[in-house]
Symmetry: C2
Subunit: 350 residues, 2 copies
């Protein structure tokens, strides 16, 4: 049968608790649908950093570049600054492996507690296509007159035609497969070089997809519509920073912020893609076996999809929905069950 | 009695319909509380542009720099690009008059339709203190290899110590007068020069305000909390772009996006401050007398506050709340009354 080699990075905190549940469910999916996994466990984490002085070995990326995918838990530990934990592991993986699409499904699932009034399960179902390798996320910039009253900080955002076009192209193709509607977020009335550029590229590329209905939103209004009228969206394309904000906002609107998944995709498959839940390492609850594994498992379903195992992916999603409705539930969802109990229930529901 | 000279810029579209209602209510407030206004009407607008080739005369800013305040409706007309209508009028006023605070109250008012479940009037009451003169809003940048496949767009955000510090200082003073809680939004795990700088300045300035409880949020999580738990906030300080997004999002959460006010403040009063509703010129409904004047009138209440007429400001706010509950209402709020009917009702309710 088919065997997938997965670079497995549980990372820190609850990452170490939820990744095993993801593995449990995916192994079960493989058994049911005729494939298997080889889970290469990598200890890269803040713990690893405290011993080795780096988040991963210098040749770490080379060691995993031929894997079929990367399955990540969460990284981060109090006392280890972000520029170490993120720019030493997460962001280099996204960038070096050209995972230029950060895909975030926003769905109102049955049994989830949305803070919005008057929305029913099924009424919100869209996807955010976020740029994941360039743009506002940048360590480029300078501080002039440092340490004086005249101190001036310049931060550079960098957008390339290649980077913008390939993201938009992915978004349009996705819209063709979904409901044929795409909108993009910019702020061309304030950010006066890069955002009109985005608009121009989007309008140009839209011409190649006559079947897709497009609209342009200023990011401020778009954020407002996520709350006022989230049912109108299908595919939402945005830059790195804007997509980051919209992703968490969208997840909050559907009450799924603790269970939301994400896929960092290299669509052409030249490099492995990475799948990780949106939640962090949550050191405050680590060790108590109460972390909700659904975000990790849902990310696993996205990994199956990318590996071409669409049927297995759907089976995992159905099992997640079933457990969301019927339980068992971890404390964050109002239950009293453990991480493992939820993972097992999802595996069994399949 | 005291007389205030107000530079009055109705602008385009419904700006021309709602500004007269603002004037009506503020004149009434003056009559009741012993002061008066001189409303200097200025035709600066896209219409003006279509005749004169500029949004305002070259010496426009000099002509109003000694006014007590600026009362603006809305600018914008289909076909006139943003870089003309905004960078030709709105943004130069904000910048040249050092209106470095954009103040946006976020309040759940009685009678307003919030999209959030489980929130009661009074449970949301905070204020966004947005930087308004520098930061991400910028026309600085460059396009390398223009027109080729290697095209690379660099956009510069510029933050100064003076700009960041004075905004934070305003926010902390405001928090002292309110509930003593301040949070600020950054994205220091992604935007690696400017955002850690913001954090450092905020932490430093916090030391001068030991009575204020502070917290730092990444902008993505903060946006999520606006939806999940908006009751926790008191004063929210943010950069130009982040504050812009949060302002519309906050207004959407309280169902007030069509009636939200804003104040562009030069706190020391070296230059006039500007007061404008958040909504735009809405060309689609212009001419039908159905525009909601509440945003303009609420902005007028903020102007009274800034002019030192706190009692009159409160009276206007009470009258607005009264009409929000009892009507009359314009169509956007489910009623059938005209712009003028609502303006008159608020004037009378005082
Ligand atoms: C019109 C636009 C430039 C403006 C801004 O982004 O500042 C508006 O959205 C606002 O918030 O006042
Ligand atoms: C941790 C952080 C750098 C990251 C991001 O902003 O990309 C996270 O918020 C995410 O969305 O994956």
């Amino acid at each position: 049968g088919r065997c997938y080699r997965i670079a497995t990075i549980p990372g820190d905190g609850i990452g170490k608790e939820v990744v095993p549940e993801g593995i449990r469910v995916l192994d079960r999916a493989g058994a049911l649908f005729g494939f298997s996994f080889e889970w290469d466990q990598l200890p890269w984490s803040c713990e690893y950093y405290s011993v080795h002085g780096e988040m991963m070995p210098a040749d770490g990326l080379d060691a995993i570049r031929n894997h079929d995918a990367i399955f990540l838990g969460a990284v981060g530990f109090p006392g280890v600054p972000d520029h170490i934990s993120l720019w030493g592991l997460l962001l280099p993986i996204r960038r070096r492996f050209e995972q230029y699409v950060n895909l975030r499904p926003i769905r109102l699932m049955p049994g989830m507690n949305t803070p919005l009034a008057n929305v029913a399960p099924g009424s919100i179902d869209f996807v955010i296509v976020r740029e994941n390798t360039e743009g506002e996320y940048s360590d480029q910039g300078s501080i002039l007159a440092e340490g004086t009253a005249q101190e001036t900080v310049v931060q550079h955002s960098v957008f390339t035609r290649r980077g913008v076009d390939r993201l938009l192209d992915y978004g349009f193709r996705l819209a063709e497969k979904r409901d044929g509607k795409l909108c993009w977020a910019t702020k061309s009335n304030g950010i006066f070089v890069a955002m009109p550029y985005w608009d121009a590229r989007a309008e140009l590329i839209a011409g190649r997809f006559p079947g897709v209905e497009t609209s342009r939103y200023h990011i401020d209004i778009l954020a407002a519509h996520f709350v006022r009228d989230p049912g109108r969206f299908d595919v939402v394309v945005a830059s790195n920073l804007m997509g980051d904000i919209l992703s968490d906002l969208g997840a909050a609107c559907t009450g799924t912020i603790g269970v939301a998944p994400s896929a960092n995709l290299n669509p052409a498959g030249e490099y492995p893609s990475m799948f990780e839940p949106v939640h962090g390492s949550a050191p405050d609850i680590f060790g108590r076996n109460i972390a909700n594994p659904i975000g990790q498992i849902w990310s696993g379903a996205m990994m199956l999809e990318q590996l071409g195992e669409a049927e297995a992916a759907r089976a995992v999603m159905d099992a997640i929905e079933c457990v969301m409705i019927e339980g068992p539930r971890t404390p964050d969802m109002g239950g009293r069950e453990s991480t493992q109990a939820v993972g097992k229930a999802i595996a069994e529901a399949m």
